[in-house]
């Protein structure tokens, strides 16, 4: 039961009654088992052990070209899945409330906020993160341009800025400085590297080439 996959269609819904019964009985078992397990987990600073008592759902997801079959709780965000389960820590957790853009990744080619995306909702999707941009030792043109133009200071927002910048050009919203600033406004940089970020994007856009 714990690893049963999500309800993919209404057919599955017909089995809900049975599932609910099973779940309720599992829950009773879980409740009986929970206190010692929780105490033990707390003692060992292993909070994640406690969460294993909840039902997980299966998830097929492709990240940077690699297919994964995973098991996740519904409440796990795509950001936490990337960082904690797949150990892809390039994508940053800034505000975690959809306000800063540090967690920007591409899902099926579109830039989105991974902190506001539930992992379980990404079933069958293709995710690209900052780790997937470079080709081996060769930096992506946008990564190289950020270094050349000094498009960061502390660097924390940079992965999100670069993922957003690549999307900004692909979407056709990088024709001039004003448009770039408008379409990069979802990525906040506390160090204020904005002028240099705009320069980097302008250069990559003007060079043309594949991004």
């Amino acid at each position: 039961m714990a690893k049963e996959s999500s309800c993919n269609n209404e057919k599955d819904l017909l089995h809900q009654a049975r599932r609910n019964f099973l779940k309720q009985s599992s829950l009773l078992t879980a409740l009986a088992l929970a206190p010692p397990a929780l105490i033990k987990a707390a003692d060992e600073n292993l909070d994640e052990k406690a969460s294993e008592l909840f039902e997980k759902q299966s998830l097929n997801i492709e990240v940077n070209g690699i297919k994964h079959t995973l098991s996740v709780e519904p409440r796990v965000t795509l950001l936490d899945l990337l960082r904690e389960q797949l150990k892809l820590t390039g994508t940053k957790k800034g505000c975690d409330y959809g306000q800063c853009g540090a967690c920007t990744v591409h899902v099926n080619g579109k830039r989105v906020l991974s902190c506001m995306s539930l992992a379980v909702m990404q079933q069958g999707k293709k995710v690209n993160t900052i780790e997937g941009l470079a080709k081996g030792e060769d930096l992506h043109p946008m990564q190289a341009a950020f270094i050349k133009h000094d498009g960061f200071q502390c660097g924390y927002c940079t992965p999100g800025q670069i993922m957003s910048a690549v999307a900004c050009i692909k979407e056709g919203h990088a024709d001039n400085e004003e448009e770039i600033r408008q379409y990069m406004s979802g990525n906040i940089c506390r160090c204020g590297a904005y002028p240099n970020i705009v320069d980097a994007i302008m250069e990559v856009k003007q060079k043309g080439g594949e991004i």
Binding site: S6, R75, S117, M121, S164, S185
Partner: protein, 328 residues
Amino acid sequence: MINFDYVRVSTQKAAIDALNKDVTSQFIAGGTNLVDLMKRGVMSPQKLIDINNLPLKSIEQGNGFVSIGALTLNSELSENDLIIKKFPLLSQALNAGASPQLRNMATVGGNMMQRTRCPYFYDTVMPCNKRQPGSGCSALKGYNRMHAIFGASDKCIAVHPSDMCIALVALDASVVIANNKGQRILPFADFHKLPGNNPEKDNNLQRGEMIIGIQIPDKITFAKNSLYVKIRDRASYAFALVSVAAALDMKGKTIQHARLAMGGVAHKPWRLTTAEDFLKGKIASVENFNRAASIAMKDAKSYGHNNFKLKLAPNTLVDTLKRVSGIS
């Protein structure tokens, strides 16, 4: 985030059945507001019904309407050629909202269902009648700079945060709603409600109902003379202090029809019907626009920190009307 159950459905019937089956369940589409509220403990549904696989993503023209599926992404709608051509006001309003990343996630139906951004609604230790009915309104005598000047009550002075909805109410749109008995159509202006004595309810959608789409009449598109103007604390990615959606149907200098709405000023998209009636048949002039603004502001009331909106709102309205009629 408190854990919850999750199901994915692919038909309208399955979605509505799942919703009816479990009173603690809720639909999720883009999730850009719901996930945020769940993380903060403001909302805690025990089950999420993922409706993203439903076939509600089309934008079609016919029978005197442009029909938009409820799951159309905000970015897809704002960049759709038909919308840009017929309703540039809607495209402008969408692009004025949120950020490109959020517009790639947020849907039309979800945009309508988003909750207020009143800081007291978000702060779970503070009283808030919208979050916890009967606990009181902290904004009434608190920090209320972003709050309503029209249609508020002593129970709630929060504002509706959407830009898209301001354009849709000005364009006389309708909402297509489905339930397990069939469908009903509600004028967009009647979808959201004023706070009154039950601010916990944002709109007139009933339990067991689902937004399946929007219809915008296209007999008069107002495409030539329409404009969305949003005043905010920074140039982009901020909620409106005041916004104005203006659409004029003009013959020479005469206004044949006017459609006006304001955002950031009320618990619902605020349609300015008395000002519209005044402008009908009038010549586009600064004097007439000033008079229309006075009429629009008639019942406005401020609460301290938002006193500035009593000037900002009419000034924005007059400025927008000047620009949209080409007399500035």
